[in-house]
């Protein structure tokens, strides 16, 4: 099984990288861009667990290590391993 984890800053937390990228996109003429959030993407391969267990355990990994929940939120999606 493959867990895809996205970690981004929470709403209300200033994202200096997102702001800089937004600025650069505006300079390039992409004036329709309203907001950019830059985050982290992680792929975690798992074996020997059910989808339900995988979801619970990957969320636990996020809480313990992968995200700092003071400033970041996370999203987990699961798919069969390629």
């Amino acid at each position: 099984m493959l867990a895809k984890v996205h970690v981004t800053y929470k709403k209300g937390v200033l994202d200096p990288q997102g702001k800089a990228v937004h600025h650069a996109l505006s300079d390039l003429g992409y004036t329709e861009v309203q907001q950019v959030n830059v985050g982290k993407y992680m792929e975690i391969r798992l074996e020997g667990v059910s989808e339900e267990e995988a979801r619970t355990r990957v969320r636990e990994m996020c809480e313990k290590l992968l995200a700092n929940t003071v400033i970041e939120s996370y999203q987990v999606s699961l798919s069969p391993a390629e």
């Binding site: 937390v13 200033l14 200096p16 290590l65 992968l66 700092n68 003071v70 400033i71």
Partner: protein, 229 residues
């Protein structure tokens, strides 16, 4: 008086702290390797030094908080032991939950290395009790992730409980956005836990504590710790 300096893989201010405590203040100083689940009870205070432990992978301090030694540090702190985290040490303390808030990348997205001024906001702590006559300290910073953040509720609790110990300011002690080098919330440069036995600070007091150097304000932080209780 005995103190310990924790060494993580990637710590790079451990020797500076050791030099100041051992040779300038002549304190019995010991290095503790991060893999030791050491008994820290014998020490009067413990320092988590600056550096780039574990290469700052994932987030600064995120991996270090699971080092074996951190169990001992948490145990020591929970029993009332005094712990000072400097720069990366501060990042490890917020990641481990011993201090509130988080440290994000500087708003300029640049590494900043320069001397700054900080205002001492409370002097009734084990870390700042020698600062009564000198409320503005000139101490260098050197970091990429020093932008302090906490939720509104946490910030209010900290303010109500006088846990904000250092704030960035100008040479005369005025706190302003212009004197805030990294975008820290409320210009926060150093905080304590609610019990005031754990402190984290981004400025490096060990870099302004050797008498060979004209700036000695960092000495006051160490003198506060060394002061008999």
């Amino acid at each position: 008086m005995k103190c310990a300096i924790v060494v993580f893989p990637g710590s790079n201010c451990d020797h500076d702290c050791y030099h100041i405590l051992k040779h300038v203040f002549e304190i019995d100083t010991t290095w503790i390797w991060h893999k030791d689940n050491a008994d820290l009870d014998a020490f009067d205070f413990v320092i988590l030094p600056g550096g780039f432990s574990y290469g700052d992978y994932l987030r600064a301090g995120a991996i270090s908080k699971f080092s074996p030694v951190m169990k001992a540090v948490v145990h020591y702190a929970n029993k009332g032991g005094r712990v000072l985290g400097i720069c990366n040490g501060f990042q490890i303390l917020v990641e481990s939950g011993l201090l509130p808030g988080a440290l994000m990348q500087n708003r300029s997205q640049k590494f900043i290395c320069k001397s700054v001024f900080t205002r001492v906001e409370a002097t009734d702590t084990p870390f700042t009790n020698q600062c009564t006559a000198k409320p503005v300290l000139k101490i260098p910073i050197a970091h990429h992730d020093g932008n302090y953040f906490a939720s509104d509720d946490t910030l209010k609790q900290m303010q109500d409980n006088n846990q904000v110990l250092l704030r960035y300011c100008d040479a005369t002690g005025n706190v302003s956005d212009a004197a805030n080098p990294n975008g820290s919330l409320d210009s926060i440069a150093g905080v304590a836990n609610a019990q005031k036995n754990v402190m984290g600070m981004m400025p490096h007091p060990e870099r302004s504590a050797d008498p060979l150097w004209p700036d000695l304000d960092g000495q006051l932080i160490f003198k506060s710790l060394i002061q008999p209780r």
